[in-house]
């Protein structure tokens, strides 16, 4: 999987950094948008894409969708390594 494609947008990286700092967090788009100081709509789109890439895990159904960080150590390690290529 081309992780860099998923890490290229700045908002995606913000989301991932949030989860790296708060690995136990599970929250919906509105909550995460608050924590990373972005608008809800953009955050929602980014979260869905990261869930498709299995970097995030989706919980609940459409009405109450929430996201948590992957528990897969291989994906987590690859994401960390890829994140280092970005200067922010």
């Amino acid at each position: 999987m081309n992780l860099e494609k998923y890490l290229r947008p700045a908002i995606n990286r913000k989301i991932i950094r949030f989860f790296l700092e708060n690995p136990s967090s599970i929250d919906n788009s509105r909550g995460i948008a608050t924590w990373i100081n972005e608008n809800v709509s953009d955050t929602d789109k980014a979260l869905k894409k990261l869930a498709i890439a299995k970097i995030l895990v989706s919980h609940g159904s459409d009405a109450t969708s929430a996201y948590g960080y992957t528990a897969d150590p291989r994906i987590a390690s690859n994401v960390r390594a890829c994140l280092e290529n970005f200067k922010d």
Partner: protein, 496 residues
């Protein structure tokens, strides 16, 4: 005390790095045309002076020169520490200096030392500098407090938001079979553990055990008596909280103890702590409510289904046994519904429709039900009216409202030649199209007063033959897949 020292160190660091402070001391340096030293305060051991910065051009080079200089400065600092005000001192090389405490209230954060100024620095200049320091220190203290608050409050706010989100997710789940694994997976995510186990008391002294492992995979889910599982029995009966290095268990309690949640071994190998216990206890309170709601919902569903089956049983007594709902018939319909991706509510509607679709036959005259020869036109019209009669029976039950379209249209034909409304194609509700295939098959293989039962194989062929005309081709394909399965074949043999 330790926290205080740390805070003082942080404040001192911020102070000497502050641009305004640097400008002020630079201005003082420019005015006095000489070096300024500053000294940090370590806190507890007040007599120790650390990190003297700045260069002295007067002080002789070498160790002895520096020693003499250092001793004079230390002495000046000690005097200021006691007096808590500016003190003049002789630097030992014929020059006067001033040691100014960086102070707020009675807390000294450091010292500014103006060494051997050529002109005597006026007290008003010192006073001005001190006032400036006081204001700056207050501002920096506020900044530090805010940073500390942010670092303390933010993780707690995030944890609270997590709990709130989980509450919404689990409250929205009313199926107990779905709720327990979902809850276990959520606990796995929050605590970052290798395993989560939920024990739930069930009827007749059985225990439901659901265990979820890495990646959220369901390791086991079963219901059985826990005669030999002494540890589990104790856990469930006493409702103890267990907090150990690699295990945290809390009871699920409503009015009584209904179960236990256990989280086992953090993936980071870190031990469980009081904060984890607090989070899990909050979660377990919400989970207990969600489980109770799911159980109440199940009871309600069982009552509804029971009522419907009772209605069907009453109808069966009236319709001379022709209206007996077979297990295979219901299973075929539900299997077709699942295969065609109907959601749980739609499947429920289909289930109720399967039991009640011919309720209207109760209005048929006895002689019509037992007739063996061809129907007259009038008799055929009575038959064709039964969907309306079925709807008139069930319409008074609000929860059966979604079932009405299925019952009303289950005799429509795909090509529009059916009854009662001659609907065509996909304008016929999907549930009704599924029912049409299943009821036709069921009618063919059932015994009737007017003909012998048809062999299941022949009935299937008849369904195939009428695909596209009487029946929706997509539904027929699904039916063919279902009817040949081992489970359905076995049930058909049993029902026949």
């Amino acid at each position: 005390m330790k926290r205080d020292v740390g805070h003082q160190k942080d404040l001192y660091k911020k102070l000497v790095e502050n641009e305004s402070f640097k400008k002020e001391t630079d201005a003082l340096k420019t005015t006095l045309k000489d070096s300024i030293w500053w000294v940090s305060e370590t806190g507890e051991k007040l007599h120790r002076v650390t990190s003297i910065e700045g260069k002295c051009e007067i002080c002789p080079q070498g160790a002895s020169g520096k020693n003499k200089c250092g001793k004079k400065l230390s002495s000046a600092v000690s005097r200021v520490r006691v007096a808590k005000k500016t003190v003049k001192f002789d630097c030992g090389h014929g020059r006067l200096g001033k040691c100014i405490p960086i102070i707020q209230g009675d807390k000294i954060y450091g010292y500014t030392i103006v060494c051997h100024s050529r002109d005597n620095i006026s007290d008003s200049t010192i006073s001005l500098f001190n006032n400036f320091l006081d204001t700056l220190i207050r501002e920096l203290q506020k900044e530090l407090e805010l940073t500390k608050l942010y670092k303390t409050i933010r993780p707690r706010a995030i944890a609270l938001s997590t709990i709130h989100t989980i509450h919404r997710i689990i409250s929205a789940t009313l199926d107990l079979d779905e709720l327990l694994p979902k809850l276990a997976r959520l606990c796995l995510q929050i605590f970052r553990v290798e395993k989560v186990c939920i024990l739930l008391k069930s009827k007749s002294r059985k225990v439901i055990t659901v265990t979820v492992g890495e990646d959220g995979k369901l390791i086991s889910s079963y219901e059985r008596r826990c005669k030999k599982m002494m540890k589990r029995k104790r856990l469930l009966s006493r409702g103890n909280i267990i907090l150990s290095k690699d295990r945290l268990c809390v009871p699920l309690a409503d009015e009584d103890i209904i179960g236990t949640i256990c989280v086992i071994s953090k993936t980071s190998k870190a031990p469980f702590d009081e904060f984890d216990k607090e989070i899990l206890m909050t979660l377990s309170e919400q989970a207990a409510i969600a489980i109770k709601n799911a159980k109440l919902y199940k009871q309600q569903e069982d009552i509804i289904l029971g009522s419907i089956k009772s209605m069907a049983a009453i109808l069966a007594t009236r319709t001379l046994g022709t209206y007996r709902i077979k297990e295979s018939f219901v299973k075929i319909i539900l299997a077709m519904g699942r295969e065609m991706n109907l959601d749980s509510e739609e499947l429920k509607g289909l289930h109720y429709a399967a039991i009640l679709h011919d309720a209207g036959q109760i209005a048929f005259p006895d002689k019509l039900l037992s007739k063996t020869d061809k129907l007259t036109g009038k008799e055929y019209n009575i038959i064709r009216s039964h969907p309306f009669k079925s709807v008139s029976i069930i319409k008074h039950l609000g929860f059966l409202k979604p079932v009405i379209p299925i019952i009303l249209h289950h005799h429509e034909n795909f090509d529009g030649s059916g009854y009662p409304r001659r609907l065509k194609g996909e304008s016929i509700p999907l549930g009704a199209r599924i029912m049409a295939v299943a009821t036709a098959f069921n009618a063919m293989i059932a015994k009737r007063p007017y003909r012998r039962r048809v062999d299941a194989h022949k009935a299937v062929n008849e369904i195939k033959k009428n695909s596209g005309t009487q029946f929706d081709p997509r539904v027929v394909r699904t039916f063919l897949k279902i009817v040949n399965s081992e489970e359905i074949t076995g049930l058909l043999k049993k029902d026949m």
